[in-house]
Symmetry: C2
Subunit: 203 residues, 2 copies
Amino acid sequence: MALPRSIRDLSERFSSLPGVGPKLSNRIALYLSISNRKLASRLEDSLKDVTAKIRLCDNCFNVTDNESLCEICDDGQRDKSIILVVETPLELYSIEETGEYKGVYHVLHGIISPVNGIGPDEIRIRELLSRLKSDSDIKEIIFGLNPNLEGDSTSLYITNEIKDLDLDIKTTRLAKGIPTGSSIEYMSSQTLSDSLRRRDGVE
Amino acid sequence: MALPRSIRDLSERFSSLPGVGPKLSNRIALYLSISNRKLASRLEDSLKDVTAKIRLCDNCFNVTDNESLCEICDDGQRDKSIILVVETPLELYSIEETGEYKGVYHVLHGIISPVNGIGPDEIRIRELLSRLKSDSDIKEIIFGLNPNLEGDSTSLYITNEIKDLDLDIKTTRLAKGIPTGSSIEYMSSQTLSDSLRRRDGVE
């Protein structure tokens, strides 16, 4: 005897979500079917809501419920001469939480990854280059991509494309090193050698 | 700047699910809003479906999409003289997967847990005792509750209640011991002393 079909269907759909395995998805499906129906109906409403309201910003491709530009691109106070490039809106909102960054963003919606069959044309690189060509005020591109092989090659690829445009634009990336509050003992030797090579003056 | 409200709402609802933390729920909400809208609408349909179809069996309280009795209680081939008691339908389906058990079940929908304010009346114990009183064919109750303090006290509590009924019913529980395929080295000393005390003859 197996779980009723409607619960199995729900569980299967949950298991297609990032980070949800088959055991957890069974637990969730059962929880929603019998223990918390109120949450099930709220989830239903929310899913309807995001589908109706959420779109991507015409300029930076961040998620937004605005008509054309997202709140950041639409904000007169933000410095439009610096663009921070991220893989997904999640990194964008992590950086926003610092309250430190006053420039604007560009969301690639992916990373160049030959292993996963994702080339430069599958992500929003062309759109970034168009922004640079059409706006001569842009002075710096900061890469905020995860510090791994794919993030580094994507930054390098885009940097080379920008060089070919022959514009006066500086490209930088977030510092690599030992995270604040962590233990040197637990760092990988790659992290330690990066932080040795990129060592700072003591201020 | 924060995520758009509809995504934050969806994320918050996901984070109310068992096993889903705030980072994962943000990732899921964003994934459904922009990367996989087809899955969002399928989830919506499935949630509607379980709410409409799923109910609890009138006899054993397992989940079912049948009218009154679940498929197991309704199955003439199952041995109605043995009842295996579980905490949730998840354990029921784990046991069904073995293909070993031919009796029927009773789902308590919880476990006695004074710490969490759950007493005997909060779970389906009364309904189990009614089954025993009304059906003199029942000969054995097997407890399939998790082998911890709460599971053990719940088994003991119900066993005492059954004794008070003065019926000829045997109460047993699933064997405690070393899981097949595991390493003795990694077992807790409680598990090892249980498996020493309950040692079997070599067959």
